[in-house]
Subunit: 326 residues, 2 copies
Amino acid sequence: MSASLAAAASSTPMLPTPEQIRDAAARIAPYARVTPVLRSAALDALSGAALHFKCENLQRGGAFKFRGACNAVWSLTDAQAAHGVVTHSSGNHGNALALAAATRGITAHVVVPEGSVRAKVEAIERAGAILHSCAPNQAAREAMADEVQRATGAVLVHPYANTQVMAGQGTLALELLQQAAGLDALITPIGGGGLAGGVAIAAHAIDPALTLFGAEPQGADDAMQSLLRGTRVTTIVPNTLCDGLRAVIGEPNLDALRSHRVHVITVSDAQTIAAMQLLWSELKIVVEVSSATVLAAILQQRERFAGRRVGVVLTGGNVDLQALPW
Amino acid sequence: MSASLAAAASSTPMLPTPEQIRDAAARIAPYARVTPVLRSAALDALSGAALHFKCENLQRGGAFKFRGACNAVWSLTDAQAAHGVVTHSSGNHGNALALAAATRGITAHVVVPEGSVRAKVEAIERAGAILHSCAPNQAAREAMADEVQRATGAVLVHPYANTQVMAGQGTLALELLQQAAGLDALITPIGGGGLAGGVAIAAHAIDPALTLFGAEPQGADDAMQSLLRGTRVTTIVPNTLCDGLRAVIGEPNLDALRSHRVHVITVSDAQTIAAMQLLWSELKIVVEVSSATVLAAILQQRERFAGRRVGVVLTGGNVDLQALPW
């Protein structure tokens, strides 16, 4: 176990408070977009619910991840910031951290496992990050991030098990509940749980009666299994097309799901792909496959959503247009 | 020549006044969406301009056409409305008229040429219209629309050579100029000219200094040729993938382009398809091929747009996801 992983394991990050989430909203306001909430008569008819889609695919960098990364970057002291930030993610968080670091004029180091999707790596490079290549496994990623930390003094910004990151993700719930009055349920995808956790805390601070749902791929149902067993399950080998949802649920994130009674619904990749096509054709927006889990969950368990006003978080829109999954 | 075509030719519809466009905005406000304006740092960098994308793909029915159809439907007297409306368009206007008629609880008759795209025809049917099938040529379409008019008393709502339709389309310019302050240029695609004409009148009423552009496929450049020759060119056989831009420019529409000095830029389908991919990947939205002509024009004639704040109208998002053009 690398030093940083040991440190992360021994000191579980605190969950953000509602106040920290409100602070995060003010902190990122100059940089992040207030994303629109879209409706669709056709999808309402199909679900029997009043669906309010929060379009984080339209966020800077094409994903909600910019919120958390931006809050983390702007929460650093000047002395900390001078050394830059580092993360090991070739996906949306890596890109978001690179963009966020650029807003503060500091260096972002992104550890990129060999074999990462070329388009995503190029986007991270375009955003101005310094790339560090490593072998494509968790140990190599953490070892390289460690090495970068030691060599540069850069601050590690974990994709989800990080208080400021969770607080940043939670800001989208503050926005959504302002944009769409009278919601009685909310659903987000669950990957590492930074989004689901931050949203749960923010949403229940405003309306404790909101029912919270999370959608998870059947092939990466670690949150579901962890909640069922009462302890964090870290041994699942992900088998899903939803590349944004393969991470293992974080420790503080699991706590948040538990204490906010988030109901997890697992969906098959086939259900998710069908839902993705519906989102593209009815909402006229490009969302990535991970984002479509939420609509798949709603359509799979129609009776739990029918007749309700539901906030539906669409997490990102970074898609390889040459390789669509249908 | 059918009776209705003769009538249309003999009595050219008036252009809407700015006041009629403001009236239209109030009339359709309960039914139409205020569509968002999206930005993209990547597309700004590529064009050298500050592009403000008005997303009418997110309008009801997935296209700006709902504005004009809705204004036409709600401009009818109760006595007129009781007989319903009719049009011959299997595309976005037919769908928009069906949706608009439904908002007033009246009948829409849509003449659908055989061989129309099945998905579009199904959407029109779902919206509650009565379909009338005919042979796939202009004469048969007009004859059938005529017959429906005679049999039912329904009012013909022409897709673009219609004062109330043009006024409705113009409302998007009122919105855009409120949403994005200080624009110095605007660009729309040009098909029949209902959009380009309505937008020109509305935009110049607010800011006479705005430079107006129109994008047209090289394979359907009737507006360009008509402006060059000083007379309406109706003999072009369209040869373009841009199915929304194959119509011949209308007479009043051409007048509007001329009097408002709309600069037409023609683009190849290859340029348009490349621009379409850029819009999908950078803006994370689904736009149809016709919509992408505007970005193709901006990138083709970069020097005319660089350094300017440009309003860019994205007209629609009704796409067959199983048959993308790349």
